[in-house]
């Protein structure tokens, strides 16, 4: 038996050797498996989407409840702050302060025992400034980072924009 080798021809790929119609005819369960596979793939996709949707919904609901709780806590804190301010005002009221001063041995000043000293640059006691004037605008930093506010599309488009602008910038 003589074995000849044709080195000039390339080997035929294996899929070209398979006769698909014949294969499905010989094993009809293949098409059923294909159908079931497609169905299951669809089901997995649907379940995946549903799962993501449920997760996001759950997180949104949790965030909503957190918002509610935080709003409640904020109101509670505002009341506490107001209460502390009132308490502070009561323990530093003029009557209380006068009593404390007297108990510490201080007495009321009168014009005869006051010594005036000139302090260069001192313009006197300034009246209360409890908030900035209307001309000044305060720049507030974003409370929530953009990463947590952007959607997937925003992130994608921004990435593309950044990429394209950097390419334009380089060229």
């Amino acid at each position: 038996m003589t074995e000849t080798r044709n080195t000039s021809r390339r080997p035929t790929p294996f899929w070209k050797k398979i006769n698909l119609p014949q294969a499905f005819k010989q094993a009809p369960w293949r098409s059923q498996i294909q159908l079931v596979g497609l169905f299951l793939l669809g089901l997995v996709v649907v379940l995946l989407v549903a799962g993501i949707y449920l997760t996001i919904s759950g997180q949104a609901a949790e965030a909503g409840l957190d918002t509610y709780n935080l709003a409640y806590e904020r109101r509670s804190l505002e009341r506490s702050i107001a209460d502390y301010k009132a308490q502070l005002a009561q323990i530093s009221s003029s009557a209380v302060m006068e009593e404390r001063a007297k108990s510490m041995g201080f007495s009321e000043a009168n014009p005869d025992n006051v010594i005036y000293v000139s302090v260069p640059g001192y313009t006197g006691r300034q009246t209360a400034i409890l908030a900035p004037p209307p001309g000044i605008t305060q720049t507030q930093g974003a409370v929530v980072k953009t990463e947590y506010r952007d959607s997937l599309w925003d992130w994608l488009f921004q990435g593309i924009n950044r990429l394209s602008s950097s390419v334009r910038g380089n060229s």
Binding site: V36, Y68, A86, S93, P111, L130
Partner: protein, 592 residues
């Protein structure tokens, strides 16, 4: 068609799964569309939102240095959720012992049967301090440990007792500056509002917003919880220390002179800022319900702005200002006082019914001679005289930013109630009525180079996190700067020559006393007077202007005896609190 027997196992599995999926879809549609679902949707629409009243925190009130004069403290409303009440007797006992409520009332309230939708919650007490709530909370927890869920009705239980926090107006300084601040009727949680003072005048600004809103119960919508920004806060021109000192001086003066009431107002004549405004009687603003007992009929909340009276001789400074400004007289103009002058057919006499002989305009003011000032007014002429009074704002409101300002109309030539003699009586402050703050505004022109400033108590307000400062308002220039300086010097000289009790060692002050008889049943009574003093200083650079009014003093009827020393006492405190050195020290410091 294939029979079931011919189906392969995967096919059967596929059919079963498909049927199962179909059932799920069917059930989903069924749940969404059946009658119960419709009811549920309706219920969700009705109860998906909670109606809630959001109310801004009432704004704070500060003095000029930022000391809190009116704020808010946390208190609690105590109530029972009838559905959960296990032992009403325990609730009644607890509230009676800790809060001080009536046992029988609480027991009856807490024993009410629960009726769904009708009788659910009952308020038992309100404005309960947090310290008492802490005691109740501890008790409730202790009872819960031994009688969880209140199952044993024989054991004590506070189940069903609940409390809700809210804010209550508080005035940390109690009665300090009560006449200026006014009060907020906090007991009325629905319709509470400010009464008197700045609480009433700036009620809308302080209150912020109050509205009913729908708060979604759906957690997906919760990010839209509405909020109410706090009401605006006010910074007053009042100086707490000066106010306290002024009230103390006033109380002592009223007591020592036997006056019925008194008023002292301190103003900066340069800008109209009221530094202190004290009046009697005052009240603890935290117990505002006593106001109707304290301020009975005829007693205004703030006499400095709400009670007009005949000021007497302090008014002479306006007459002299008009005469100097019209060049009718100069400080050296001579006048021979014969003790009587006839105007419009009526004889006018001096306060002592004496004749003071040759006088100058300075000595006329120094001796407070009615005859001389009547003559001056006649020389000015009624047209010019009333024109000047009008320029000084007499007969008009000052529009000070406090609720309840009163004004007495000025009778002028041509009015049915005006007679020629009015020109004379008005010249020395009789037959004309003003409030202390009106006199201060008029006299501010003399102390402030001829420029009359609007008196005000609001220095700034804070809204939406920004502080808006108020500006000085010049409301007129009734006299020239020259006239103002001349008159100030005349009043300074007259006090010096008189060796007045109003003088303060080391400080140059100008001023004028006033004693006005009070009309009783249409007749002036020489025993009942209003004693007044108006003064300012330092004369070269006025930084304060003080008005004193003592009503019906008993120790002496004369302003020079009872009111002038009060001015001196007030100024002695003012110069310390305002850091005003004596004239000599100031001159040497300025020289440096």
């Amino acid at each position: 068609m294939k029979s079931l027997k011919n189906l392969s196992r995967p096919q059967i599995l596929g059919i079963v799964l498909t049927l199962f999926a179909g059932l799920i879809v069917f059930q989903m549609i069924s749940i969404q569309s059946n009658a119960h679902a419709k009811n549920l949707n309706q219920w969700a629409q009705n109860y998906g939102y909670q109606v809630s009243t959001i109310q801004s925190e009432r704004g704070y009130i500060y003095d000029r240095w930022g000391n809190l004069l009116a704020g808010n403290k946390e208190v609690y409303e105590l109530g029972v959720e009838l559905q959960y009440v296990a032992n009403p007797a325990t609730i009644a006992t607890t509230l009676a012992s800790i809060v001080g409520s009536d046992y029988a009332t609480i027991l009856a309230e807490a024993s009410q049967p629960y009726v769904e939708g009708k009788s659910v919650y009952v308020t038992l007490a309100d404005f309960v301090d947090s310290s008492k709530i802490a005691q109740i909370d501890k008790l409730k927890n202790d009872y819960n440990k031994s009688n969880l869920y209140g199952e044993n009705s024989k054991l004590p239980s506070l189940l069903g007792l609940v409390w809700t926090a809210h804010l209550q107006r508080i005035y940390p300084e109690n009665d300090l500056a009560s006449n200026v601040i006014g009060f907020y009727s906090y007991l009325d949680r629905d319709k509470g509002r400010g009464y008197y003072g700045v609480e009433e005048k700036y009620n809308d600004l302080l209150a912020g917003t109050k509205e009913q809103v729908l708060i979604p119960l759906d957690p997906y919508d919760l990010q839209t919880i509405p909020t109410a920004p706090a009401g605006a806060s006010l910074i007053l021109t009042i100086d707490r220390e000066i106010q306290r000192s002024t009230e103390s001086i006033l109380d002592k003066a009223v007591k020592s002179t036997g006056a019925v009431n008194g008023t002292i107002v301190v103003m900066n004549p340069r800008n109209g800022e009221i530094l202190a405004m004290a009046s009697t009687p005052r009240m603890n603003l935290n117990e505002y319900w006593n106001s109707s007992k304290i301020y009975t009929t005829g007693i205004p909340f703030n006499k400095a702005i709400s009670q007009v009276y005949e000021p007497g001789s302090v008014f002479k400074i306006l007459t002299m200002a008009a005469a100097l400004d019209t060049n009718t007289v100069t400080p050296d103009t001579g006048f021979t006082d014969t003790g009587v002058i006839t105007v419009g057919g009526w004889n006018i006499y001096n306060w002592d019914r004496g004749a003071w002989g040759p006088q100058t305009m300075v000595t006329c003011l120094q001796h407070s001679l009615n005859v001389c000032l009547s003559w001056v007014a006649t020389q000015v002429g009624s047209t010019k005289f009333y024109e000047y009074l009008d320029r000084f704002g007499i007969g008009h409101r000052t529009n000070i930013d406090l609720a309840g300002e009163e004004v007495y109309p000025l009778s002028e030539p041509g009015d049915p109630m005006w007679y020629e003699v009015n020109l004379a009586t008005n010249s020395f402050g009789q037959g004309v009525a003003v409030t202390p703050v009106q006199m201060l505004m008029a006299a501010s022109a003399i102390a402030n180079d001829g420029k009359m400033v609007a008196p005000h108590v609001l220095k700034a307000y804070i809204q939406d996190g920004k502080q808006y400062n108020t500006n000085t308002q010049i409301v007129g220039m009734p006299i020239t700067a020259t006239t103002a300086h001349t008159l100030t010097n005349m009043l300074y000289t007259s006090l010096q020559q008189e060796s007045s009790d109003a003088l303060v060692e080391g400080y140059s002050v100008a001023g004028k006393t006033g004693t006005a008889e009070i009309a009783v049943n249409g007749e002036y009574s020489s025993n009942l007077t209003n004693a007044s003093f108006i003064g300012w200083g330092p004369t070269d650079n006025p930084q304060f202007m003080v008005y004193i009014w003592l009503e019906k003093p008993a120790s002496s009827i004369w302003g020079s005896v009872v009111a002038a020393p009060v001015f001196s006492e007030e100024v002695k405190q003012l110069v310390v609190l305002m850091n005003i050195p004596p004239d000599s020290v100031r001159a040497s410091l300025q020289g440096k």
